[in-house]
């Protein structure tokens, strides 16, 4: 078995996920990424697997491949997520289910399967993704905010369940970052959101990577069940 840490990141075709995949390849990790479509970049230390994060059969197949090809998993970043911006009274139920399935269901499935691998070596780091929209109780995003609040609750309970296996689980809550997820949001809405932060600027992918680095580092073995929001929210 190689000594190179293996880092699994979901939703790596674009945005923060792609940035994190490149960031951890540059840091010397063996990175495995996934998305529903084919990967958008190639590197000898990067493997892309096509999978829908809330399809249990596809997720289990992905972990089967991970076990066969690498035999270990050190880190999981549950980055994949979808948003839905709409007034609750105008939101179709199908949308609510899709958002819950991807954001909560996907995080649950990947965390469960990852922890099964990690517990063998009594070491693992899992980082989940929430959003400042949860503490800000952002109007117009009820389904998205509810799904991310659920991710925070999952993080806090699983952190306790997994502690005995040497696995930590934490979450990061970014502020708006210039990605596809917010491109559809009107500029004045984003400006209003930034105004509610202690530090008033858009976030960057580097800000996210910095918090992930902290959660992943071996010295953070006493940090679990925590949610860190960017921008002083």
């Amino acid at each position: 078995m190689s000594t190179q840490p293996v880092t699994l990141i979901t939703g790596t075709r674009k945005g923060i996920g792609l940035f994190l995949a490149q960031h951890y390849v540059a840091a010397g990790h063996r990175v495995v990424g996934c998305s529903r479509q084919a990967g958008s970049w190639h590197h000898e230390n990067y493997t892309h697997i096509e999978a829908d994060v809330c399809d249990e059969t596809q997720v289990k197949a992905l972990f089967g491949q991970l076990r066969r090809d690498f035999g270990r998993l050190d880190h999981l970043l549950n980055n994949a997520g979808i948003a839905s911006m709409n007034h609750s009274l105008l939101t179709p139920y199908a949308t609510v289910r899709r958002v819950m399935d991807t954001n909560l269901g996907g995080t649950f499935l990947f965390s469960r399967e990852a922890a099964k691998m990690m517990q063998k070596r009594q070491f693992g780091r899992i980082v989940n993704f929430t959003t400042v929209a949860v503490p800000l109780k952002l109007e117009g995003e009820a389904a998205y905010v509810a799904s991310k609040a659920a991710v925070q609750a999952l993080t806090q309970v699983m952190a306790r369940e997994l502690a005995k296996f040497g696995i930590t689980m934490n979450a990061i809550g970014p502020v708006p970052i210039e990605t596809d997820l917010i491109r559809a949001v009107p500029a004045d809405k984003i400006a209003g959101l930034v105004e509610r932060q202690a530090i008033k600027r858009l976030g960057t992918c580097e800000d996210v990577a910095n918090v992930c680095d902290f959660f992943l580092q071996p010295q953070s073995n006493f940090v679990t069940g925590q949610v860190v929001f960017l921008g002083g929210v």
């Binding site: 289990k60 197949a61 089967g64 076990r67 099964k116 517990q119 005995k164």
Partner: protein, 102 residues
């Protein structure tokens, strides 16, 4: 994959989990061995490790991926994890269900 093969796989896996957890037992492991609950050999942590190891063992040995997770896990009366025999029967059931579905 038949019941006898599965029972043997679970016996072997239980033995290695007990060794890993440094649990000493004089008991000769068989289908009747109590795993969890009253007079069970395993605490909840060891049970989790066993179930995961059995799932992976089945996948390696028989090339089928089945799930041994169950909502009745902690029920004294109906838990499929009560004994090596009940776990083997449960795994067979899950395997058959998966075969029928495919």
């Amino acid at each position: 994959m038949n019941l006898a093969e599965l029972t043997q796989l679970i016996i072997d896996t239980t033995r290695s989990v007990l060794e890993e957890q440094a649990v000493e037992t004089d008991e000769v492991l068989s289908a009747d061995t109590r795993l969890f609950g009253d007079q069970g050999l395993l605490d909840s942590l060891a049970l989790v490790s066993l179930v995961i190891a059995v799932e992976q063992g089945i996948e390696e040995q028989f090339g089928v991926s089945i799930e041994l997770a169950d909502d009745k896990a902690l029920s004294q009366k109906n838990s499929p994890y009560r004994s090596i025999g009940t776990l083997a029967a449960y795994a067979t059931e899950q395997f058959e269900a998966k075969r029928r579905a495919s």
